[in-house]
């Protein structure tokens, strides 16, 4: 169980760094959603299903959608 959590945390760090490094904003938004999704799995493993549900629905679902809509209606490349 500890191994799974460690792997999840490492993947979260990778996705978080990718979020800040990627120049294409849509890719950055997807990496950000991956952080949320992995965090929600981590919350589930830490016996917090309430928080996991909120994180999956809001962090990985709605926030990503709102970001994608916003990026699509503005410039899609970072300068």
């Amino acid at each position: 169980m500890v191994v799974i959590q460690a792997v999840l945390i490492l993947m979260m760090i990778v996705a978080g760094v990718a979020t800040s490094m990627l120049k294409d904003l849509i890719s950055a938004v997807i990496a950000c959603a991956a952080v949320s999704l992995l965090a929600s799995m981590l919350f589930y493993f830490l016996d917090a299903p309430d928080v996991a549900m909120a994180e999956a629905a809001i962090g990985a679902g709605l926030t990503t959608a709102v970001f994608v809509i916003a990026v699509r209606k503005t410039r899609s490349k970072e300068e």
């Binding site: 996991a52 679902g61 959608a65 709102v66 809509i69």
Partner: protein
């Protein structure tokens, strides 16, 4: 130059966090209130899900503040996008038939699942916020599939006001009947039953309606403006 300044700032913030937090023991109880909840919450509130009894009953006032913050955020987005003109119907892209058919079948189930989550908030994990977010994602799907669907923004506003009014009315009724704001004046009933825990399910249903309509309103605002 900017990167060096940024690195120094990150280091300063990191070191100050470490200095403040290094004396806090990890995994030990600093205050006894958590143990009180774990031992007494089910008898005191009747809610099987202790998280719900903390969120809605013990810390109900905080939840009212949280809902207010969400309302102000939705209001801010509405204000920023108010003067932006709407996208014309022909500029919007239509989606493929697979997505359309899938959404037509799934939409009622997504809404039903959201309602299930917040109605059973006092029994199973989840509650008003989670259920509301699920309902809002269902509406998001319909806006993606049928862009020509015009928003009924006023209906979302009405549902949102209804949720807020029910929350505050129940809280003030608690003040009238028990002497405490958000006091539990209804019978707590049998544990594990749907009709139990007094005012907790009522308030969570109100929160679910409010959060769902607020988030759906934000998504609708974002999609239908240029």
């Amino acid at each position: 130059m900017r990167k060096a300044v940024g690195l120094i700032l990150v280091l300063v913030v990191g070191i100050s966090f470490w200095v403040v937090l290094k004396n806090v023991p990890f995994g030990h109880d600093k205050i006894g209130v958590g143990n009180h909840y774990i031992e007494n919450a089910i008898q005191e509130t009747g809610a099987t899900n202790i998280v719900t009894s903390v969120v809605v009953s013990y810390r109900g006032l905080d939840t009212l503040g949280e809902v207010t913050v969400l309302f102000i955020a939705a209001l801010g987005i509405g204000m920023v996008l108010f003067s932006v003109k709407k996208t014309s119907a022909k500029e919007r892209q239509t989606s493929s038939m697979v997505v359309q058919t899938g959404t037509r079948i799934l939409f009622p189930f997504i809404i039903l699942f959201g309602i299930y989550i917040f109605v059973h908030g006092h029994l199973t994990p989840g509650g008003g916020f989670q259920g509301g977010a699920v309902i809002a994602s269902g509406f998001l799907l319909t806006y993606l599939v049928w862009p020509e669907l015009e928003t009924k923004r006023e209906r979302f506003g009405a549902a949102e006001s209804l949720g807020g009014l029910v929350f505050v009315t129940i809280a003030i009724l608690g003040l009238v009947f028990t002497g405490y704001f958000l006091g539990n004046f209804l019978p707590t009933g049998t544990q594990n039953h749907l009709f139990s825990a007094g005012i907790i399910p009522v308030i969570y249903i109100a929160i679910g309606i409010k959060v769902g309509s607020e988030l759906a309103g934000i998504v609708a605002d974002m999609i239908h403006k240029e």
